[in-house]
Amino acid sequence: MLEIKDLHVNVNGKPILKGLNLTMGEGEVHCIMGPNGSGKSTLSQVLAGRDAYEITGGSVTFRGKDLLEQEPHERAGEGLFLAFQYPVEIPGVSGNQFLRAALNAVRQYRGEDELDAAQMMKVFRERAKQAKIDLASLKRSVNEGFSGGEKKRNEMLQMAILEPRLAVLDEVDSGLDIDALKIVSDAVNAMRSAQRSFLVITHYQRLLNHIVPDHIHVLVDGQIVKSGGKELALELEEKGYAWVEEHTNTVAG
């Protein structure tokens, strides 16, 4: 599904990712945890194709193709979805218009017929129901005036409708109260399947009480320094990131 090999990325000339390796299989849920500044958000933005990042080395293969060669919209067409940490407000168009344009663009990329407004509505209803998310937000302008929780819920709704093969969730839990967190994690859990993988990026262990990952990786200073099963989260919570950092330094030293 996804294979990241020795990825090096600079931001404004400064190395942020320093040889990151990660392999994910189909249907797997991986979690990347790490302290502030470790490169978590850089990784998600690089995967989605933001051009402000300079890739200085390494490779990313997604479903057998070179991901880094592809434009952002092609990556979406291939089945990559990024749930943004800070979803962008787009006043002037409704969520319906936005998602119709997006789904038809993705369908066109995949060689599928475009859907008309009535067919779209049917698809939206089915998928929203499956992800247990209310459709009412689609009548409003995209993210405009949404609370933090509404924005994240809207990202999940977009994910449900676009049906990606790999969803990267960038700090989808930050700033959410427990109710909003439950809605978001219920949506993710409802969408888990043997064909769909999730890369959950978070700062907080709390999210993993709701979304139970298959693998946890600890990102420190641009590298994955420790990987393990879900029990790693508990260890991290108990001992803190400092423990991993220390541990890493000891190994490196």
Partner: protein, 442 residues
């Protein structure tokens, strides 16, 4: 005076035709033509025309367009059908080269509204006071030229307390093969107390030749009247269009003025709103979309003459290629107009390095207890939003068009009448929809 020597045909036209038409009009027309003859076309030395040169306009010896349009009836019908409001049982009046065409119009008038000819209107007691007022209100003599040469007019009188559900639609079409054809469309809406109506005026042209429409719309709102006036300027890109709207608002009346400038090599839209009664309210919104070498100028003057009035201006410009946009918004608050609440916003999107916008607020306040806010911003497309859309599958061009549409659509989505909103959305989609999977909101 050099500008006038060129305009022989308009002079000839006036001297031949000034005797025609209702007698009551004659002195008004003569005064108006004398005004134009003395003043000529505005120049960039006039403060109100600082950013807009009429040079190209003055170099043509304009001639009144033929009444007999050469176009085939089927072509005209198709053009009108393309631009007319869809699916709404509205009255549609179609003027071709300044003349009402019964065969293209839907004259079924709803109860509560009367359509008068210029001759009939001239018999009304309010006529001479209202008709000439436009000429005096602006330093430019272009409205006066309209008064002098307009042979016909759409005069809509809304009865007291009439409430019209559906918009009244007026389409002004310029067609023919003469590259020097000029028309002088004139509209008057006289809303009696508490009347409510929406009037849509669409200006279109056909053919690849240059033409000129010099139009005037007058809106007279009696106490408590509510009028929405929509101007859709969809001229061809060889055309010149100079328009002026003059609105007079009595006590507690409300005007909504929506203005879309989309076509024209040169389009100038003057909007003069006078709040002449206490508690009057004006919303003046505009969207101007320029590309290639289009020049689109919005000139708004709001005069608060009485207390407790409010006015809100919201204009948005989108300029690509070498297009040049202008927004001037003048707010005048008289000494007696205490408790005035007034705001003005102009936001612009520049899509190319060579596109240009001149935006200028002008506040002139003589009362001491007023709110008067204004702001203008000019910027490019938001990179974060572009990336967001691309990450959802939209190709770069489609994402760009989607954002442009969104920026423009923000003004339209607030329109109360759904059919009108959809009509204007369709205009936007036609302009920006091709590269994206954009569809109007269902």
């Amino acid at each position: 005076m050099s500008t006038l020597t060129v305009h022989n045909k308009l002079h000839e036209d006036f001297s031949q035709n000034s005797g025609a038409g209702p007698a009551a009009l004659r002195p008004l027309r003569e005064q108006a033509f004398a005004r134009f003859a003395a003043t000529g076309f505005p120049t960039t030395r006039d403060e109100a025309w600082r950013f807009t040169s009429t040079r190209a306009l003055t170099q043509v010896d304009w001639q009144r367009a033929d009444q007999q349009a050469q176009s085939q009836l089927d072509d005209l019908k198709a053009t009108v059908a393309h631009h007319a409001l869809k699916d709404v049982a509205a009255t549609t009046l179609v003027f071709v080269n300044g003349f009402l065409r019964e065969d293209l119009s839907q004259r079924r008038l709803p109860a509560g509204v009367r359509l008068l000819s210029l001759a009939d209107a001239a018999q009304e007691d309010w006529f001479s006071e209202y008709y000439a007022v436009a000429d005096a209100e602006t330093a430019s003599a272009l409205p006066a030229l309209n008064t002098a040469l307009a042979d016909s007019a759409t005069v809509l009188v809304l009865d007291a307390e009439a409430r019209l559900e559906n918009p009244l639609e007026i389409i002004h079409l310029s067609c023919g093969i003469s590259p020097h054809r000029a028309t002088f469309p004139r509209t008057m809406v006289v809303a009696k107390p508490m009347a409510e109506a929406t009037v849509l005026e669409t200006f279109i042209g056909s053919g690849g030749e240059a033409y000129w429409q010099n139009s005037v719309s007058q809106l007279h709102l009696a106490d408590g009247a509510r009028v929405t006036h929509v101007l859709a300027e969809l001229a061809t890109e060889q055309a010149f269009h100079t328009h002026a709207t003059f609105a007079h608002l009595s006590r507690d009346s409300k005007l909504v003025s929506e203005n879309m400038l989309i076509g024209g090599a040169l389009a100038r839209n003057d909007i003069h709103v006078n709040l002449n009664g206490p508690g009057a309210e004006a919303h003046i919104n505009g969207l101007f979309l320029g590309h290639a070498r289009q020049h689109l100028d919005n000139h708004v003057v709001v005069r608060h003459n009485e207390p407790h009035g409010c006015s809100f201006q919201n204009f948005r410009g989108i300029l690509d290629d070498k297009a040049h946009g202008v927004f001037t918004g003048r707010i005048f608050v008289a000494q007696d107009a205490q408790k005035t609440d007034s705001a003005q916003s102009n936001r612009n999107l520049l899509l190319s390095d060579e596109a240009r916008i001149d935006t200028k607020p002008q506040l002139e306040i003589y009362a001491d207890d007023v709110k008067c806010a204004h702001g203008a911003t000019t910027g490019q497309l938001n990179q974060d939003a572009l990336f967001y859309l691309q990450s959802r599958g939209m190709a770069p061009d489609a994402a760009r068009n989607f954002l442009i549409y969104a920026f423009a659509h923000e003004l339209i989505e607030k329109l109360a009448i759904r059919e009108l909103r959809e009509h204007l959305e369709a205009v936007l989609v036609e302009r920006f929809g091709q590269a994206g999977a954009l569809a109007p909101e269902a």
